[in-house]
Symmetry: C2
Subunit: 148 residues, 2 copies
DNA sequence: CTTGACCTTAACCTTGTGGGAAGGTTTATT
DNA sequence: AATAAACCTTCCCACAAGGTTAAGGTCAAG
């Protein structure tokens, strides 16, 4: 199967498939004319990446899934743990978004919302003090003093 | 105030501040030696961007907020609407994440999770049929037949 | 023989930020 | 005065995860 068909079958774009190959995720054989050729096994690998991407796995996580898929000694508990780890990660994201949402609603509540230019939201956002304390779950935003 | 101080005050990095300026978000005056100088007003603008970023606004959305902040004829209802729009956007994200989470848990449930290499998760993810139907909120993935 | 569909590589665009090079300024210490 | 440290400047590269376009090779049909 050539790349166009593989793309259509998996729902990926041909460009993405080539990109995955350049990252060493899913190899392909080559025909005499240089075209990529995908065996049923490789197609499964592509499908794995496609499905995993849809449920939020990064390409590096897909790499891990692919290794487990291709490893005969793989334990299903490991796969399950990776999935549950992703669930935990999603929970964190949801928590963070929910916290931000609360902050935004608090901001909006303080704003009268009429024709006047006086806006409590802007006043809050431009105030150096009180910098929107919503719980930071992970230290991703925490680069506060890189130049101390 | 020079950029280092401005960075420390706002919690932004000097790099980011320069980047914002290159995008035309927050201008700066220059001292004789070429160093950037920030007036209290400009500092407020930087603070606005910093706070808005923390609650999930993109830089383009920050641009919009800055314009409202600097426009005397700005109506607070517009600011409020922008904030509420962001809330709606977050709601969508949460909904999508929740849907993915459900899918992942369903996958995990089907997996025994022991030492055996037989894994229902991998079987599900590599199956071309049944491609993880979770509701797509927006049509962002819909580039299926670019080579028809 | 040419058109059109398919394939190839390569390069640049995105978003927002970090890292670092190479060099100019200022300040503080020797 | 000299020198080192701490600033500042611009410019380029990198990341994820591809999208888009360019320039060209291959193949089948008309």
């Amino acid at each position: 199967m050539k790349i166009g068909q593989a793309a259509q079958t998996t729902g990926l774009s041909a460009k993405s498939i080539r990109y995955y190959e350049s990252l060493g995720l899913v190899q392909s054989e080559r025909l005499d004319n240089g075209y990529r050729h995908y065996s049923p096994q490789c197609l499964k690998e592509l499908q794995l990446v496609a499905s995993a991407r849809q449920v939020g796995f990064s390409l590096e996580e897909c790499r891990s899934l692919l290794m487990m898929f291709n490893n005969q000694e793989c334990r299903s508990i490991d796969v399950k743990n990776q999935v549950l780890g992703k669930v935990a990660q999603i929970d964190q994201q949801v928590q963070q978004l929910t916290s931000i949402r609360t902050t935004l609603l608090e901001l909006a509540e303080r704003c009268i919302g009429d024709e006047s230019p006086q806006c409590a939201i802007l006043q809050n956002l431009t105030a150096p003090q009180n910098p929107m304390r919503f719980t930071l779950v992970e230290g991703e935003q925490g680069t506060e003093n890189s130049n101390d």
